[in-house]
C-alpha cells in the first residue's frame, strides 16, 4: 500500500465479470489472430482438393438447379417476372450465409474446446472468425450471382438493378449479425445441454421455408393473408426481399420493415454477446 504503483494490475481474475465488459480492447489486440484464423479456414478448405475454391460455386449451383426443377417446374411456384434461377440464387446465398453463421457459432465452444481449453484469447474472436470466413464464401457466391444476373440481363429478361442496391452493405451486416447473435445465444446452452445441437441441425434447414428463398413474399401474402405476417416480420425475409429489390428490381420493400429488422438484429446481437460473455468464462468445465 505504501507504493501506489504496486496497485496497478494489468489483469484481475475474478469469479464473475461485468456482463457488459466485452473486452473489445483485447479483441482489437488480437486482430491478427482473427485474420489468421480466417485464412486458416479458407486455406484448409481447399488444401488437397483439385477444384479448390471452385467448390464454393458448386454448392449453390447444384441447389438452384434442383430448386428450379422442383419448385419452378414441378410445383410451379411463381417467381414473378424474375427468371427462377436468379431468383433462387439471390435467396440461397443469403440464407446460406445466415445459416452457416448460425450453426457454426452455435457449436463454437464444443468444436474448439481443445484449443479454447488450453490457451486464453478473447473468446469473441472465435465467432467473429466464423462470420468473416463465411463472408469470404458469401463473396465468392455473390460473384456467381452477379454473373448469372448479367447472363440473364443480356438475354433481355426482366432484371432491373436500381438505387436500392446501395443498401447491400447494410444487408450484409444485418444478416451476419443476426446469425452471429442467435448462434451465440444457442452456444451458451449447447456447452452444457447438447440437446439444442440436434434441434439446430434439423430446424435450421426447415426454417429456410419460413423465409422467401423459394417464393416471393407477395405470393405468400396472396395465399395465406392471415399468417403471412410470420414470414413478413422474419428479419431474414426482410433482408432477402430488400436484396432482390435492389439487384433484380422486384421484391417487397419498405423502410419501416427494414428498420424493424435492424432493431431486432441489434437486440439479438447485444443479448447474444452478453450471454456468450457469461458462458465464456467457465465453459471449459462443462463442455
Amino acid at each position: 500500500m505504501d507504493n501506489p504503483e504496486e496497485e496497478v494490475w494489468d489483469i484481475v481474475i475474478t469469479p464473475r465479470n461485468n456482463l457488459l465488459d466485452l473486452k473489445l480492447k483485447d479483441v482489437w489486440h488480437y486482430r491478427d489472430l482473427l485474420v489468421l484464423l480466417v485464412r486458416r479456414d479458407f486455406v484448409a478448405f481447399y488444401k488437397q482438393t483439385i477444384l479448390g475454391p471452385l467448390w464454393f460455386f458448386l454448392q449453390p449451383l447444384a441447389t438452384i438447379v434442383l430448386f428450379n426443377f422442383v419448385f419452378a417446374n414441378i410445383a410451379k411456384i411463381s417467381t414473378g417476372s424474375i427468371p427462377p434461377p436468379v431468383f433462387y440464387l439471390a435467396g440461397t446465398i443469403i440464407w446460406n450465409y445466415f445459416s452457416d453463421c448460425l450453426t457454426k457459432t452455435s457449436t463454437v465452444f464444443k468444436d474448439n474446446s481443445a484449443m479454447l481449453g488450453k490457451v486464453y484469447f478473447p473468446r469473441l474472436i472465435m465467432p467473429l472468425s466464423i462470420v468473416l470466413s463465411n463472408l469470404i464464401r458469401f463473396g465468392v457466391q455473390f460473384i456467381l450471382f452477379l454473373l448469372l444476373m448479367v447472363i440473364y440481363g443480356v438475354q433481355g429478361f426482366a432484371i432491373h438493378p436500381n438505387l436500392y442496391l446501395l443498401l447491400f452493405p447494410v444487408l450484409i451486416v444485418l444478416i451476419a449479425a443476426l446469425g452471429l447473435g442467435l448462434g451465440m445465444m444457442i452456444s451458451a446452452v449447447t456447452t452444457k445441454y447438447r440437446d439444442l445441437t440436434f434441434v439446430v441441425s434439423f430446424a435450421v434447414p426447415l426454417l429456410m421455408y419460413t423465409t422467401t428463398v423459394i417464393y416471393p413474399l407477395s405470393v405468400a401474402q396472396a395465399k395465406y393473408p392471415k399468417y403471412s405476417w410470420l414470414i413478413k416480420y422474419n428479419p431474414v425475409t426482410v433482408v432477402i426481399e430488400t436484396f432482390r429489390k435492389g439487384f433484380l428490381g422486384e421484391g417487397s420493400f419498405n423502410w419501416s420493415l427494414l428498420g424493424f429488422a435492424a432493431g431486432a438484429t441489434i437486440v439479438v446481437v447485444i443479448l447474444g454477446t452478453i450471454i456468450f460473455n457469461r458462458v465464456e468464462k467457465n465453459f471449459v468445465d462443462t463442455v
Binding site: 484481475v12 488480437y30 491478427d32 484464423l37 490457451v119 484469447f121 445441454y193
Partner: protein, 427 residues
C-alpha cells in the same frame, strides 16, 4: 522486488459425475439463490479433493483458499501428486477457466503453455502454423515476423518449413511448437509439463531456454512438472499442493524434500512386495543427500543411502540396490560383501557409484533384500522384500573432450583407451 502475481483466497469447485438428471433443477436453484444475493447452495456442501476416498458430495474443491505471491524474476515450481490441483491452478492463472471464489491479480503479459502446439492445423505448413500459433499465444504479426528466423532455427526444421505439419515427425512437430512458445515476448511464462515430450536433447534445450528466460531476461516463470530434476534445475522456489491446498512453500530443495516425505509416508505408488515386506520399513532413500529426482553431474560420485527399520532378527541379510534406466536393470550393488545377521532396530545402508560411470539420463532406484541363511537355497524358499521406483536421479549432460557423452550406451568406462596402428596391408 515487485509482486507480479498475487493470489487471494483462490478456490475452484468442480462438479463430479455426469451432467444430466438434476442439472436443470440444480441450475434453477443456483440461479434463484444468486438473484436473492445468497451464496451458491451447492458450494457449501463441497469437500476436499481426495480422489482415493469416496466422497459424500459430488462437488469437490479442486483448489481451496490459495494465497501466495510471486515476485518479478522468480521461477516458481508447482509440485504435487496427480490431482493435487496443479493444472487447475495454471488454468485459472492463464484465464482458461475462472475461479469459483477469490481473486488473482497479475502485472504484465502472460503467456501460458499448457499444451504444446495448441491450434496447430495439420493441413497448414510449418510457416503458416508458426504465425497462427504465435497469434493464438498473443503475439502480433510483426513480432512473429521479427522472430521468425530465430524460431525456425531453434526448432531445427528449416528444410520442412513449407511442408504441411501433418507430414512432420512427432518430434519435429513438438520442436516447432515449443520454439514458437519459447519466443513469446511475455513477462510471465506459465508452463505445464510440456517437456514430457521430445527427445532428451531437445528437453535439455527447452529447459536451458526457460532458464535463460527466468534468469537472464528477468521474466517470471511458473512451472508444473513431475520431473523433480527439472524443477530443481529451473526453479528457486516451489509450492507444494496436496488435495487443492498449499501445504508448503519455500526453496525448491525444501519443498521437494517435503513432497518426498509426504509421499513416502503415504506410500503412494510405492509398494513393498515379498514375504519380508512387513519386517522392513523403509524410512527414506536419498541420492547425494537429496530425496527423489536429484540431478547429478557426471563428475559427482553418486551415493545412495537408505534408512530403514528392521523388526525381526534375521540370520543373514544385506541390502541390494538396483539401478534401472528405461526399464533396463543397469546394475545391482549390495551394502555388504557377505550377508550377516541383523538385529531389530534402525539402520542405514550406503552405496557409492563412482563418478563418470553412468552416462547422462534418468535412473530409478529400487531397494530389496533377502534372508540368506537357508541350507537348501532355492527360490520359493527364500524370504525377501523389494521396493521398486523408490527414488530416482538424473545424470546431467556435461560436455568435455575427455568424456564425450554424445556416445550412446548406459555405462561409461573411465580411463579406458584403445590404440590405432598403421599395419601396411590387410593381412
Amino acid at each position: 522486488m515487485t509482486k507480479v502475481i498475487e493470489v487471494e483466497n483462490l478456490s475452484k469447485a468442480y462438479q463430479l459425475g455426469d451432467f444430466g438428471t438434476g442439472t436443470i433443477s440444480r441450475d434453477m436453484e443456483r440461479f434463484w439463490a444468486r438473484i436473492r444475493g445468497k451464496e451458491d447452495p451447492f458450494l457449501k456442501i463441497g469437500e476436499l479433493n481426495d480422489r482415493s476416498k469416496k466422497g459424500t458430495s459430488d462437488i469437490v474443491w479442486s483448489l481451496r483458499d490459495l494465497n501466495f505471491e510471486v515476485e518479478r524474476g522468480d521461477a516458481v515450481g508447482v509440485i504435487g501428486r496427480n490431482g493435487a490441483g496443479k493444472s487447475t491452478l495454471l488454468k485459472v492463472l492463464s484465464r482458461v477457466t475462472s475461479p469459483t471464489v477469490g481473486k488473482v491479480k497479475i502485472k504484465g503479459r502472460v503467456a501460458s503453455l499448457l499444451e504444446v502446439g495448441t491450434g496447430f492445423h495439420p493441413e497448414l505448413t510449418g510457416r503458416e502454423n508458426i504465425y497462427l500459433n504465435g497469434a493464438i499465444l498473443g503475439m502480433r504479426k510483426a513480432e512473429i515476423k521479427r522472430k521468425f528466423d530465430e524460431i525456425v532455427d531453434f526448432a531445427g526444421v528449416e528444410r520442412y518449413i513449407d511442408t504441411p505439419v501433418k507430414r512432420y515427425s512427432s518430434g519435429m512437430y513438438v520442436r516447432l511448437a515449443f520454439a514458437v512458445a519459447a519466443h513469446l515476448e511475455a513477462e510471465i511464462l506459465i508452463v505445464d509439463e510440456v517437456l514430457a515430450v521430445g527427445d532428451a536433447e531437445f528437453q535439455k534445450k527447452c529447459l536451458g531456454k526457460m532458464g535463460d528466460v527466468s534468469k537472464g531476461e528477468g521474466k517470471t516463470v511458473l512451472f508444473v512438472s513431475h520431473n523433480m530434476g527439472s524443477v530443481q534445475q529451473l526453479c528457486d522456489k516451489a509450492i507444494l499442493l496436496t488435495n487443492g491446498e498449499i501445504v508448503f512453500t519455500g526453496s525448491t530443495t525444501a519443498t521437494i524434500k517435503n513432497y518426498m516425505n509426504s509421499s513416502l509416508n503415504s506410500k503412494a505408488g510405492i509398494e513393498t512386495i515379498g514375504s519380508l515386506k512387513d519386517v522392513f520399513k523403509i524410512k527414506s532413500v536419498t541420492v547425494n543427500n537429496n530425496p527423489l529426482d536429484v540431478a547429478v553431474m557426471p563428475a559427482d560420485d553418486i551415493s545412495i543411502c537408505v534408512k530403514y527399520e528392521c523388526l525381526k532378527y534375521l540370520e543373514g541379510f544385506r541390502i541390494s540396490f538396483v539401478i534401472f534406466k528405461d526399464g533396463i536393470r543397469v546394475l545391482s550393488i549390495q551394502d555388504l560383501e557377505e550377508s550377516i545377521p541383523i538385529e531389530p532396530g534402525y539402520y542405514r545402508s550406503d552405496v557409492k557409484i563412482q563418478s563418470y560411470f553412468l552416462r547422462p539420463g534418468t535412473y530409478t532406484v529400487a531397494v530389496g533384500g533377502h534372508n540368506t541363511n537357508h541350507t537348501n537355497f532355492s527360490i520359493g524358499n527364500v524370504d525377501w522384500f523389494f521396493v521398486s521406483d523408490i527414488s530416482s536421479f538424473e545424470v546431467l549432460e556435461e560436455w568435455s573432450k575427455v568424456y564425450d557423452f554424445n556416445n550412446l550406451g548406459i555405462i561409461n568406462l573411465p580411463n579406458t583407451s584403445g590404440e590405432r596402428l598403421a599395419i601396411g596391408s590387410d593381412d
